[in-house]
């Protein structure tokens, strides 16, 4: 015989709105999206069952591979770069100096600016003729490139722009750094470890959970990057900044291939899962992880 704890029904009633939301707006759409990925579906017609044809078609789709390649390049450079920059800023801000409190606010402030507004600002910063970046380069005698119109430079510009929202990671790293026991660092100093060795052998293992967390979040963000390239380069020049989410969006709403777009969405989920498994497994294997 099972016993029900008093208040269980009431508690369930209280969470019912959330449960209904979870089922209606998350689980059901996910299930439907998987079903659509197995169909030929344009939204204007009833879905036609084609089993795994959409998934098979991905292998022969050169634009799919191009979008994967572009996204991987973007992720492979922007994630470590963001980690280094945010950890560096957090390290500089890890003091009790009053100025550091002001700088913390300044570093976090860009993350609350809407992405579209930020993209418009960066669009002008990168303008090759009137932009501040090229103006700055010209002061030191460098003739700046056409940032957003030239292959290679456009990708570089988007990666630089991705550092705009590094503030969130800085806050997490800062909290982690403040939790590092000073006794450990002092002991390492007494043992004769230099600053680099102290950081690698003492600080880094201690803040590993924060590193893993930030890497996972940044990996997901990198795989889903859409708004900034959509506004700043429209995927160009010649699809050199055409990312996975942009292609998915185009397939769904521009080319009206909702079935194919759903398959792209599920493959994206698998790719993201595979990518976030790497740092997680590495930390588990080499220790210090959650």
């Amino acid at each position: 015989m099972t016993t029900r704890r008093p208040g269980t029904v009431i508690n369930l009633l209280w969470v019912t709105p959330w449960l209904v939301g979870l089922v209606l707006f998350f689980l059901l759409p996910m299930g439907m999206s998987f079903y659509y990925s197995l169909t030929d579906y344009s939204m204007l017609e009833v879905p036609l069952w084609i089993a795994f044809d959409n998934y098979a078609a991905l292998f022969g789709d050169s634009v799919f591979w191009l979008a994967v390649r572009n996204t991987l390049i973007y992720a492979a450079i922007s994630i470590p770069l963001a980690a280094i920059v945010s950890l560096g800023i957090a390290g500089l801000l890890d003091t009790d100096h009053p100025v550091s409190h002001v700088v913390r606010v300044l570093v976090f402030a860009p993350t609350v600016v809407p992405l579209v507004a930020a993209a418009m600002i960066w669009l002008w910063l990168f303008n090759s003729d009137h932009g501040l970046i090229n103006a700055g380069l010209s002061w030191v005698g460098v003739n700046g490139p056409n940032w957003l119109q030239e292959r290679g430079w456009a990708m570089a510009a988007l990666i630089v722009m991705s550092l705009w929202s590094v503030g969130q990671a800085v806050v997490i790293y800062l909290a982690a750094l403040q939790d590092v026991p000073s006794a450990l660092v002092d002991a390492a100093s007494i043992d004769g470890l230099g600053p680099v060795r102290r950081f690698v052998s003492v600080v880094l293992p201690t803040i590993a959970p924060a590193v893993v967390f930030n890497t996972i979040i940044q990996t997901i963000t990198a795989w889903q990057v859409f708004a900034t390239p959509y506004i700043m380069t429209e995927g160009g020049p010649d699809r050199s900044t055409y990312f996975y989410s942009h292609y998915l969006y185009d397939q769904a709403f521009l080319f009206q291939n909702m079935g194919y777009a759903s398959a792209l969405g599920w493959v994206q989920l698998l790719l993201i899962t595979a990518c976030i498994a790497v740092p997680y497994v590495m930390v588990r294997k080499f220790g210090g992880g959650p």
Binding site: E45, L48, I50, S128, D129, G236, P237, F253, F255
Partner: protein
């Protein structure tokens, strides 16, 4: 709390009150808010008269163009005692319409882009209008030659026109004169255009481009049209792609001659300093680019930001072998009205559309949008009173036998996406015209085969 005592009589009661009251207050507040919203909350702004059939009409135009249509809708509503049109101007109309149709709750009338018609029609999402149009006397003869193909697909009529615009070459006469060019001798062939460009080009002391006569990428909205000006096309009569046909290759050889001649990097640097369309910094208005490919709506921009600018529109020049002054070449773009399948009141919807097709109303709408008429015959005052001094050129283009429309295929969005991407590669000098067009051809052969395969499967499944 009093010192020395842990509890007081009545503490338990107070604790209960503190526990219960916030919850009661919260629930009471929520109920009061809900009641307040129900009683005094927002109401639909339309004052819909009782007893009328209500039509929901979604239109893609917002801003001044959307307001022009709203005025006509208001006039229709005033003259009616059986139908009431509820007008909603929204952006991204094709996506929202698609979702509404898929959800089984479409509006009664939708103002779509004409290139949406093939995919919507093939999917069976639109009501065919052949019979309704014939019974209302809205025949092909009434419309300018190039307009009818905008309304049809695979031999059936799926839409009615609301506005249309033909593309022409706009010339800044002030810049032409300053370069010593007689404004009367406007370019007719692409060789003439190249020559005009050479005479207008200005460079700074350090060799940077400061002014150009013509630039394909300004505004660059129609990267795919150039083959038509060499006598080419993008689809054959069977609907198969012809992107890599020799005339198209010749056209993009001409396009490539610009980055080859001036340098891709120099052109990109020049382009990046140009202002956007819709602003006073648009390079045609500032004189940085002396001629641009644009539609008749260009006059609205000129009148808004540079009313003293002297301009003229001429048919876009063609390859010398294609010159025929009596039959100019140009794209006709158009906005169409459709009745989606599942619309609640198709007859009433068509009555509203028919009312809009009356010449005076279409001309009023065209004038407000700054466009040419979609009709074969215009009223005497239309050209004289139009805000665009070159509107007669646009009217003539719409009636030209060599005017062309967006290729009528449901995979057109993919086709144009391929063109836009490859054009950038060509402009950067990274690929040859032949390689560019061959790549587009291969992709489109595959896409069209895929689309046809899907249609066959659907037909087999239905049978």
């Amino acid at each position: 709390m009093i010192a020395g005592r842990d509890t007081l009589p009545g503490d338990n009661v107070l604790a209960t009150v503190h526990r219960v009251w916030p919850r009661r207050t919260a629930i009471g507040g929520l109920v009061a808010s809900a009641g307040g919203l129900l009683l005094f909350g927002p109401r639909p702004s339309d004052d819909v008269p009782a007893g009328r059939v209500i039509l929901d009409y979604w239109e893609k135009w917002t801003g001044a163009e959307g307001e022009a249509m709203r005025l006509l809708v208001d006039e229709f509503n005033r003259t009616q005692d059986t139908i009431y049109v509820r007008y909603l101007a929204i952006n991204s109309i094709d996506q929202k319409a698609m979702i509404a149709i898929a959800g089984g709750s479409p509006p009664d009338v939708i103002g779509l882009w004409n290139f949406n018609v093939p995919s919507y029609a093939e999917a069976g999402a639109l009501l065919p209008l052949d019979d309704l149009a014939a019974s209302a006397g809205l025949s092909r003869e009434r419309y300018a030659d190039a307009v009818w193909p905008l309304l049809t697909h695979e031999g059936r009529q799926w839409s009615m026109i609301s506005t249309c615009g033909s593309l022409a070459l706009y010339l800044n006469l002030d810049v032409l004169e300053s370069a010593g060019i007689d404004p009367a001798s406007t370019p007719r062939t692409l060789d003439d255009l190249d020559e005009m460009n050479e005479r207008i080009i200005e460079r700074s002391s350090d060799g940077k481009l400061e002014r150009m006569g013509f630039l394909h990428t300004e505004p660059g909205w129609w990267s795919w049209i150039w083959g038509y000006h060499f006598g080419g096309s993008l689809l054959d009569s069977t609907g198969a792609p012809t992107a890599d046909a020799p005339k198209n290759v010749a056209a993009y050889e001409w396009v490539r001659s610009y980055p080859e001649r001036f340098g891709s990097r120099e052109l990109l640097a020049f382009q990046s300093g140009l202002g956007f369309y819709g602003t006073a910094q648009y390079p045609f208005l500032t004189g940085k680019v002396a001629s641009v490919v644009q539609g008749p709506w260009m006059a609205n921009l000129i009148n808004a930001f540079a009313p003293s600018l002297r301009y003229r529109a001429v048919p876009i020049p063609v390859d010398v072998g294609e010159l025929d002054a009596a039959a100019p070449v140009g794209l006709i773009d158009g906005d169409v009205l459709v009745i989606p399948k599942g619309a609640k009141h198709p007859e009433a919807s068509f009555e509203f559309i028919t009312w809009l097709q009356e010449r005076a109303r279409l001309e009023r709408l065209a004038a407000a949008h700054g466009k040419n008429t979609p009709l074969r015959e215009t009223s005497t005052g239309f050209v004289e009173n139009h805000s665009n001094g070159s509107i007669a050129v646009h009217n003539a283009l719409a009636s030209s036998p060599r005017a062309f429309v967006f290729p009528r295929t449901s995979v057109w969005p993919r086709y144009v996406s391929e063109f836009d991407a490859a054009f950038q590669g060509l402009w950067l000098g990274e690929q040859t015209p032949r390689a560019m067009l061959s790549g587009i051809q291969q992709t489109m052969v595959r896409e069209i085969a895929k689309e046809r395969g899907g249609r066959r499967r659907r037909e087999q499944s239905a049978s």
